[in-house]
């Protein structure tokens, strides 16, 4: 039960987040709660900054006159500003069928979690006058969808609609998504990559290496479910792969140890890969507060500046 003294971040309720309808609301809920928990406003450092003066010329907007300087020096001068950043951010989201999984403790499926995070970050970036774009695969034929990065106010709505239309229906498509991203992005950009990375392929590692080779900064949000990280099943069940339909009869008591060992090895391998490529790797669990991922991103944002 939340109390009045709690901050919004402390009041985070996964059920409430799940109950909210519309990605817009979810993104605002996440982002505003996250921002209210910070001591320093992120807007403070990233706003447009003063650069220098120049003499007033007829036709200049009077709003930009420095009246204080005029009072002090009796000189009419116009303030000049400098746009603080021109970074390009790309949201790249995996829509393979494995992203459909939602465990019992999760507030949403992995794809829903990724979509909320992506929307929140988009909102945040556009507020900071950063250009945001998107690369996804859509439809059964997995055609790449590309949204050109922009700072325009309507960009948020455009990306929101695209995010809402994503469905976790495809097969293993991670390597293709990476290849398409490499092909479509020509300038150095910051890539926010949302995936569970549960696609065993050398091509995936190669794709990340190529991204790095092209000079892109990549922040990987690996979205996982508690069931995948901890394997909490107790009863013997028939397990069916979401992507391949393959089936295994699993007795969790006997299989858990082996599973966790193999899973952790998988995670370690990825961590090593991303470390070697100097990529930021953030594991997001669908049953946890997503702010941890946002905080990580802000830190990384500062580093990139």
């Amino acid at each position: 039960m939340p109390t009045a003294t709690q901050t919004l971040s402390e009041r985070f309720d996964p059920k409430m987040l799940a109950a909210l309808e519309g990605l817009d609301f979810k993104a605002r809920y996440v982002m505003e709660g996250f921002l209210s928990g910070l001591h320093d406003s992120p807007f403070h450092g990233f706003s447009v900054e003063f650069s220098d003066y120049r003499n007033y010329q007829p036709g200049d907007d009077l709003r930009h006159l420095d009246w204080r300087l005029y009072a002090r020096s009796d000189r009419l001068c116009i303030k000049r500003y400098m746009q603080e950043t021109n970074a390009r951010f790309y949201i790249v989201c995996d829509t393979s069928a494995s992203m459909r999984y939602q465990g019992g403790a999760a507030w949403g499926s992995k794809l829903e979690c990724a979509k909320v995070l992506a929307a929140a970050l988009t909102w945040f970036l556009l507020k900071q006058n950063d250009a945001a774009g998107m690369v996804t695969l859509s439809g059964e034929r997995e055609v790449p969808e590309f949204i050109r990065p922009s700072q325009r106010p309507n960009q948020f709505g455009l990306m929101l609609r695209q995010l809402e239309s994503l469905r976790a229906t495809g097969g293993a498509c991670l390597s293709r998504l990476l290849q398409d991203t490499i092909r479509l992005l020509h300038r150095r950009s910051v890539i926010l990559f949302f995936s569970d990375l549960l696609e065993p392929s050398d091509d995936v590692a190669m794709g990340f290496k190529q991204l790095r080779f092209h000079g892109h900064e990549v922040i990987i949000f690996q979205v996982l479910d508690r069931d995948e990280t901890e394997f909490p099943f107790t009863e013997s069940r028939l397990f069916e792969d979401l992507e391949t339909g393959e089936r295994r009869m699993v007795t969790p008591a006997a299989a858990r140890e082996s599973y966790l060992a193999r899973f952790n090895a998988f995670m370690d391998a990825h961590r090593e890969l991303f470390r070697s490529l100097e990529m930021t790797h953030c594991v997001v669990r669908t049953d946890e507060n997503p702010w941890r991922a946002l905080a990580l991103f802000l830190e990384e944002r500062k580093r990139l500046k």
């Binding site: 069928a97 494995s98 992203m99 459909r100 999984y101 992995k110 569970d196 549960l198 065993p200 479910d225 069931d227 995948e228 099943f233 069940r237 028939l238 397990f239 069916e240 792969d241 979401l242 992507e243 391949t244 393959e246 089936r247 295994r248 009869m249 699993v250 007795t251 299989a255 082996s258 599973y259 193999r262 899973f263 998988f266």
Partner: protein, 680 residues
Amino acid sequence: MPFSFLNPWFWLGALVVAAPIWLHLRRKRETNVVEFAALRFLDDQPEPRRSPLRLRDVVLFALRVLALLLVLAAFAWPYLRGADTAPIKESRVYILDNTLSHQANDGFTRDRDRVLSEVSKGASDIQMAVIELTSAPRVVVSFGENREAAKQKLKALEPSFQRGSYLAAFRQANSLLGNSLGEQKRIILLGDNQENQWTEQADTPAFLRNVQVDLPKITALALPNLSLSEPRVQRIFLGDKSLVNFTVKLSHAGEAKTADIVLRANEQVIFNRAVELENQPETILLQAQWEADPATWLRGEATVDGTPDALAGDNRVFFSLAPVIEGKVALLAQSPYLRLALSPEVMRGQWATRVLEPTKLAAELAGTEDADVLVVESNYLQSGDARKLLWRYVTNGRGVVLLVNRVTPSISGCLRELGFEAEGTVSTEKGSAERFQFVYSNHPIFHPFLSPDYGSLMDVKVSKYVQLKGSQAMPLIFSEKGAGLFFQGTKFPGKLFVAAFGLDREHTSWPIDQTFIPFLDLTLQTARAEDPAPTTFEPGEISKIQLPAGLAVREAVLRDERRVLIRAPVEQGRAQVRMPDKPGVYTLSYDDGTQVEKMFSVNPSPKESRLTYVDAPEALKMWRVNLPPGTGKPGAPAAWGKMSLSGILQQRWWWWMVMGGLAALMLEMALADAKVRQAR
């Protein structure tokens, strides 16, 4: 042994078995499978060895299903079909033509033997019925009838002399097939395809639906035949002689050159002569007269013999004639010729004439004894009493012979009431009198005059006559100028004959003509109120005989020469008698008496003598219901032969089914209990 169910729709309940199975398996599938994203880390786990749809305990499941099915089967009431309840593939109706024409070349006997053979060796999956085509088609063998009994009935069939209707037989066959069980329905006509049978009733609404019709193959479009038909016999008084006038039609088709005609009456040969047929019309009217005792019944027959002749059944015709009963004539006429002709010297024994006095008509009107026929001249109709008397005769069903020798306004008014319009008088100049131009020779009055023995009506001259137009009368004689001279009125129940002229020399030469006395006698005979019931019939025809009023009779008895054929009960003065199938002369008497009251002659229809045939009758096409393409084939499944309900109910298979179901349930419970205990 074939197995069937009384209530097969109860098997729909088997769907109940499927429902819990489906629900059970569906639930298993939903709860037992986890769709997982990281299965790649579990690929060392075993693959499922059994289908998730597999039942846990097949034996228990089978027992439960078996119990349910047995109970369902019990409700469906199973029974064993006997050997006589084979599926019916075809329902077949034979129409056996037993009309006279089919006797030609033994056609009937041949087809009867064919039906007999097919009924004997017919497959058990074919229903058969046989309809005998006679004047009233009847079902001889019905569907499902025992074959031995059917054979006996067919063997008993004899050739008949009747005329029947193909249409009636086909309708009856169609009606039978409508209630039959066979998938295919078929009518097989075993007949001769006589042309006039197909053409006379072609115009009828279509009624044959989904019925196959097999027609006989004809070998020739026509067969040679000699036949006698339409015998007519009348008594004619000529002078003091009582003659019998006999006519009969001789029809010949084929190559016969001569025909021997023999006429017998009251067991005497009247006529025995060969008739030349070459270059003669197809129908020849033969006529004979002979003297006969007017007080006795006359019965006789005429036969024809010749070759080639395919049909012998129509070579003989029978006739009969009642004895003369003296009639009464009331005469109100001045014509001396008429008075003489009706005098006892001329008409003794035939007609008793009472001459009415014009001054005593009131007394006549007051009396109650009317004559059979009133002969009156129109000039007496100016008297009101004479008009009343005339009116009484025509309205009481008596006969009237009116001679229009004068027309006045009052007479015109009277004629108008009788249905005639007088339009003036025609008088020809001396020497230019008109003769009879046309005489309706088929009328009973004039039919004997076809023979020249009674003189020629064409010699009669009329010099003065009244132009009459009869709105409700039929002209029987026309003058040379087309004026009607002699009429038969149709307005009244009594017979009214009207001559447009008087019978004296001022009007006509007829009274001194040879034909006058026979004409007068025949006219009075025709005008006399007689029993309207006919005395000539076709074989099998039904007659309603009206008995004289006031006669206490229980039954009418029809006899041939040797024995009693029919005893028909009399109800309300009427008796219904079906004439025998065989042509001949039959007598009618009342109760146990032997006195002959009536005599009937039964002769075949002349239509049966026309032996012309068609191969593909148009009528059959019109009788068929034209169905849209694709709907012509009956789609009904093969039905099973009837088995009585009591027979089905006597079989107790349902009881064993119930017991079996209960046994399966008990076994299932025992097994389930054992498994539970084992699990504990």
